[in-house]
């Protein structure tokens, strides 16, 4: 809105005001020589003018509101991609004609789009955010107490353990469909696994990490998507369990089960994160194929050492009106023992209703003597079965037997209370029974608390 327009509007308003006030003064009611018809005519005119005055006041009000929120600028000029038909002489034709070909060109267009200051600020902030590295924090405190329930005296009996974990996450978009990601983790404290010495970890936060009380690079990789985002390639320092052996109900130690046996299949065999590559082919029709390799030893001296190859096929299925289910089968080979050993496994999760999910895993791995075997299963409850709509709880059981005869049975229950979008609190109760070959059986009950923050 220009100043001159406002000045004209103001002048017009003033003149109309004068007119409205002046007319009754010039033509007072009750003037004897005034014909009644003229008086009515004047009154009608006054009424009409008053109506227009009210409309003009409304217009002025609207102008003020617009001026207070609108960016005063020239119409925007944008570059537009245009397809035109051009003949050999470079002459543009409105439609396709003999001798013309379609070419793409660019031209400026003047756009009459009114933007508010909020639009401008939002666009500037979005632009700034897109250029920066995104930083996230994922922090957790886990408190666990160990009570021995069976077996000869163990040093863990009655002890309490606390592990604090903080992940710093960095993400940066490098190009279209290409992202860099790094996860630096610091662990402080002691999980119970140093004294319980089971076949799997009672605190999954420490899984596939080597050092404690110091910063460690958990992951650092570059991801790109090809073929209309059907093929995803990830390369760098990886945790291949993020891509293989997934499970909707038992695959996240931060919000679901905390024991590693109910987070991943131990027969997968990955002990440490390391250099590797993952390729995921996802045509978005329910099938997924994955392949990858990863080194799983920090002492390896070359890429051929302690190398794991994994492949997985999965299918998303909605059987019998039950809800969706995910069914995965994987196969791996590794040379960490000095010779090639294989393993295979399955992982499934199937919704039984909108709030109830059944999950199960099975795995078999070649070992020095007989094969190792693992299976687990359980239920996850959400929505209607939880106290708050976004809470979840679960019951799980796992059984792990090694070729030499060691056995582990583990049962766990958790309730995850979502306090806010950034903070969650969990109560966890684990019972684990270790049955080492050649030794007596030892059992523990491990109650625990978990406070998880992510922002």
């Amino acid at each position: 809105m220009t100043y001159s327009y406002r000045r004209c509007l103001g002048r017009l308003l003033r003149q109309l005001c004068v007119g409205v006030v002046a007319v009754p003064m010039l033509c007072p009611q009750g003037q004897a020589d005034e014909p009644p018809a003229d008086r009515e005519s004047i009154l009608r005119r006054i009424e009409a003018l008053e109506q227009r005055l009210r409309r003009l006041e409304a217009v002025e009000q609207r102008v003020e509101e617009l001026e207070s929120t609108t960016v005063l600028s020239e119409p925007e000029t944008r570059v537009k991609q245009v397809e035109v038909w051009v003949d050999e002489a470079g002459v543009e034709h409105a439609t396709q004609e003999p001798g013309t070909r379609r070419v793409v060109t660019y031209q400026r267009e003047r756009v009459y789009r009114r933007q508010t200051i909020n639009d401008k600020i939002e666009a500037a902030l979005d632009d700034a955010a897109a250029r920066t590295v995104q930083v996230g924090v994922d922090a957790a405190i886990v408190l666990q107490n160990v009570q021995q329930t069976n077996g000869s005296d163990a040093r863990a009996d009655g002890n309490t353990y606390q592990l604090a974990s903080a992940d710093l996450l960095f993400t940066a978009g490098l190009a279209k469909y290409t992202v860099f990601y790094a996860d630096v983790v610091g662990l402080s404290g002691t999980p119970p696994d140093g004294e319980v010495e089971g076949l799997s970890l009672l605190n999954g936060y420490a899984a596939r990490l080597r050092e404690q009380n110091r910063l460690e690079l958990r992951e650092a990789w570059l991801m790109t998507e090809l073929w209309s985002q059907r093929l995803t390639l990830v390369a760098g320092r990886l945790d291949l369990t993020n891509y293989f052996d997934g499970n909707a109900a038992a695959n996240d130690e931060t919000t679901q089960f905390i024991s590693d046996a109910l987070v991943n299949n131990p027969t997968l065999g990955l002990s440490e994160n390391g250099a590797g590559l993952a390729a995921i082919f996802d045509p978005r029709n329910g099938f997924r194929l994955k392949a990858g390799y990863q080194q799983s030893s920090s002492t390896a001296t070359n890429l051929s050492d302690s190398l794991f190859y994994l492949t997985e096929a999965s299918y998303e299925w909605t059987p019998f009106d039950l809800g969706e289910g995910n069914y995965r089968i994987w196969y791996r080979t590794d040379n960490s023992s000095g010779k090639d050993q294989n393993a295979f496994g399955i992982s499934m999760d199937q919704k039984l209703s909108s709030g109830l999910t059944l999950f199960a895993r099975y795995g078999s791995a070649e070992s020095e003597s007989r094969r190792d075997h693992f299976y687990s299963g359980g239920l996850q409850f959400r929505a209607d079965y939880a106290y708050n709509p976004e809470d979840a709880w679960g019951l799980g059981y796992s059984y792990y037997s090694l070729g030499p005869g060691d056995r582990e049975r583990l049962a766990e229950a958790y309730y995850n209370l979502r306090i806010s979008g950034k903070l969650q609190f969990s109560l966890i109760l684990t019972h684990v029974s270790e049955d080492p070959a050649g030794s007596s059986k030892i059992s523990y009950v491990v109650p625990g608390l978990r406070l998880q923050a992510g922002f």
Binding site: G19, V82, Y112, R284, N285, E316, R382, P389, G421
Partner: protein
């Protein structure tokens, strides 16, 4: 000139000017017939060229466009049930516009409240309800007098409007609240507010989420028989089922995070909810009122169209349509529309065969064959096409 004379002059001038405008409009109405069959065109709402374009549904040629004025920024357009008029709200001009379809002329602009966006016709075509989300009101436009006969207030960012099939009631979805307003269409009065849910008690510990940018109800989608409404609430992550006979909430269905709205399959069996928070879709069995599948989808989903037994989910910023087999309730691939494009909303033809998708950043409409999934581009339809509309389509919706 005396003061009285000046006042007379102003009044007369305004009247003469008004008469000229009216006469011009009448003259336009007597113009050449350019659209003889309203069912033969696709409307294209061009936000930044401030016009409504008309594309022939068979030849895919533009028949013409109606310029609404500078700084109008039309948001959504709809044809009257008889196909005679097209109406649209100018979100920057705060006006409603009425276009004569046969002659493609603008016949009336009507001042309404702030930022008019979504709209709906009563089934008999008598009234056109224009939602004004920034004014928290709904303007009732009488299509006989072509005037705003009432402005219903008391809403909280009213987005979409749904009439019952008998036209007695209209349901107003409030994105700035968690309730659906029930309007008596005979008196144009807000009768009732039906809440689809409330934040859980623990929400008091998360003020950023519940007191910040509220994401309430964008639309109340009606079942084919008109008996039930399905209103998704973004903050609460639920779909409320409202019985239209008794106007009460009969069920809450938990879906994914930040659901936008429910889109009804044409056979009336399923409702598809797009959950932008966790980038999934929830498929609700409308017979059982239960979620029967939750499937992976894409970012920033703003529409679902149904054709050839499939659901096509529009993921705005990714440039993909995610396809789902509605008989098996399973994913059935993706269709890439383009790179560096932002796709908007779409309509489906009445044969349920082809989808007409607006693509704003490349100023195009893409025509997708539902059966073969072949894509045809119609370029240069106008600046920043924001949505499309076909008379009697079952997929006429907006953002």
């Amino acid at each position: 000139m005396t003061v009285t004379g000046f006042a007379n002059f102003v009044g007369t001038s305004v009247l003469v000017l008004w008469g000229t405008v009216t006469a011009a409009s009448d003259g336009a109405l007597s113009g050449q017939v350019r659209v003889s069959d309203p069912a033969s065109v696709v409307l294209i709402v061009n936000r930044d060229s401030n016009d409504i374009a008309f594309m022939d549904i068979e030849t895919h040629k533009l028949l013409g466009s109606v310029f609404l004025g500078k700084n109008v920024n039309p948001h959504m357009a709809s044809m009257s049930p008889d196909g005679r008029w097209v109406v649209t709200g100018g979100s920057s001009s705060n006006k409603a516009y009425i276009i004569d379809v046969p002659t493609l002329t603008l016949v009336k602009s009507i001042p309404v409240d702030f930022a008019p966006e979504h709209l709906a016709f009563s089934p008999d075509g008598r009234y056109y309800y224009q939602g004004n989300p920034a004014g928290d009101s709904v303007s009732v436009i009488d299509m006989v007098s072509m005037t705003e006969i009432k402005r219903i207030r008391g809403f909280a960012e009213p987005l979409n409007i749904t009439f019952t099939p008998d036209g007695t009631k209209a349901y107003i979805a409030n994105y700035g609240a968690h309730w659906v307003g029930v309007v008596d269409v005979t008196r144009h009065e807000l009768l009732k507010k039906i809440y689809v849910g409330f934040a859980p008690g623990i929400a008091s510990l998360d003020p950023e989420r519940y007191l910040g940018d509220i994401k309430g109800i964008s639309n109340a989608s009606i079942s084919n028989d008109g008996r039930y409404l399905y209103a998704a609430d973004g903050d609460l992550g639920v779909v409320g089922v409202i019985d239209t006979r008794e106007d009460r909430l009969v069920k809450k269905i938990r879906v994914g995070e930040d659901p936008w709205r429910v889109y009804m399959s044409h056979d009336g069996k399923y409702g598809v909810v797009v959950n932008n928070g966790d980038e999934t879709i929830s498929i609700i069995d409308l017979g059982r009122n239960e979620v029967v599948a939750t499937l992976e989808a894409g970012p920033e989903m703003i529409g679902v169209n149904f054709a050839a037994g499939k659901a096509f989910v529009i993921s705005s910023t990714s440039g993909f349509l995610y396809v789902y087999d509605m008989s098996r309730l399973e994913p059935a691939g993706r269709i890439k529309i383009g790179s560096n494009v932002q796709i908007e909303t779409a309509t489906t033809d009445t044969a349920d065969e082809k989808i007409y998708l607006a693509s704003s950043t490349d100023h195009s409409v893409y025509i997708i064959d539902g059966r073969t999934e072949a894509v045809e581009r119609v370029a240069n339809v106008g600046l920043y096409p924001w949505g499309t509309h076909i008379l009697d389509s079952k997929d006429n919706y907006c953002h």
